[in-house]
Amino acid sequence: MSFGSPYTTLPDFEYHKPTTLDEVLRLLKEYGDDAKLMGGGVGLIAFMKERLMSPAHVIDVKEVKELKLLDNTTGRGLSIGAAVTLSQLLEGGVLKEDYTVLHEALSKVADPMIRRRATLVGNLCEAIPWVDSPPALIALDASVAIAGHDGRRSVPVSGFIRGPVDIDLGPSEVVTSVDIPQTKGANSAFEKFTGGSEFSLASVAVMVSNGGRNRRARVVYGSVNSMPIRSAEVEEAIKDGITPGSVRKAADLASEKIECVDDVLATAAYRKHLLKVITTKVLRRMMSQ
């Protein structure tokens, strides 16, 4: 019998399945701190099994009409509703051309069966340091749209993640979408090293916009510290072009300047070595594109 053994059952909770955003906000007002929002559930269910979370109420947002939207209107960028799954994003091909860095990051998340359930917003809201979507979203300058009783607000992803498993979201608020500005003509890519485990030991997301004289680069590292880290030094090194020389310089700077942590997965020294490897790898690939 599986019932009753540790790590296999879930704590008691009441399940709610609202279909409109108003209903979600009403449920959050009523249950607030005692409630957890559920997208695909792959994170929440795992956390509940480990008793890291024991909400009295689970609010499933999968069938909320407003949150299922995936808006790719030309000129306005891409808006990804909170109920949109990773499979939808990958199979629909919406990311492939203009948001390559996110496409590459998501296509390596877990496996196809998990991606069928997992949502991008759920992945982001976990704010686990080794999750791959935040660096890619920060490289794309994405922001998070939030709805609450006092109205709506928007925060950049870089500010939304406040620390490990800590996000800028009140108990009666809900993330409605992740919005990515138009990046036509930009060159972007993602690289990570897992060493065969399920977790990234180091990841890098790069975007270079081809705005003539206004060339800008955004380089974000993940999985090496408690939060994604942007590197102004590496960005400066590749701003004027990705060449064999600038790649070498960028890789050295990444290894030198980015602060890494020692933990059970890897030592800081090993992570610093990996930064050099993945920076070289991602930039060489972008150079040949």
């Binding site: 599986s2 790590y7 879930l10 704590p11 909770f13 399940y15 499933d60 496996d111 196809p112 069966m113």
Partner: protein, 166 residues
């Protein structure tokens, strides 16, 4: 407790459940569908894989209540005439089951892969089954079984460039 109705392999099944019950437990314990295996309980091994509304999912990461009013298919439901599906025959031919514990999940996943993509490349197979584990290590035999079904398929093999566009 609440009552849910789930159509499992074409048959509507009505049961009382608790909100915190997993689809995995609902299938194994309440309906006694034992081909759905419970092993890691955390979405890593893939042995509890079922089809929910036509898509492969890991049932240890799905609430039973989420399947209310929906359709679930397990390995028992991949053929409706009681005969073995081509991939099942190929598993037998190639000895692609050793201890057999993971076999239902692998059969279901490879059956679905071949339905969507009758001529999967090695990379397609590895990607499609990357969420499944076989601790006996029958991966090579599974690869041979998939190749056999692919070779026998009447669907014409498409040139590579067409596949890339599809």
């Amino acid at each position: 407790m609440r009552e849910i109705t789930v159509t499992v392999n074409g048959r509507a099944r009505k049961r009382m459940i608790k909100d915190n019950e997993l689809l995995l437990d609902f299938l194994r314990e309440r309906l006694e569908v034992r081909s759905v295996k419970a092993a890691c309980w955390r979405g890593e091994c893939g042995l509890c894989t079922v089809m929910l509304e036509g898509h492969l999912v890991k049932s240890c990461l799905v609430l039973a209540v989420e399947a209310d009013g929906r359709e679930v298919r397990t390995v028992e439901g991949i053929t409706n005439d009681g005969d073995l599906a081509p991939i099942q025959k190929a598993f037998v031919n190639h000895g692609a089951a050793q201890c057999g514990f993971c076999t239902p999940a692998w059969v279901l996943a490879t059956h679905e892969l071949l339905r969507v993509n009758p001529h999967p490349s090695d990379a397609d197979l590895v990607e499609a089954t990357s969420g499944l584990v076989c601790r006996c290590g029958t991966y090579n035999q599974i690869r041979e079984a998939v190749a056999e079904v692919s070779a026998a398929s009447k669907v014409r093999r498409q040139p590579k460039e067409n596949l890339a566009r599809a």
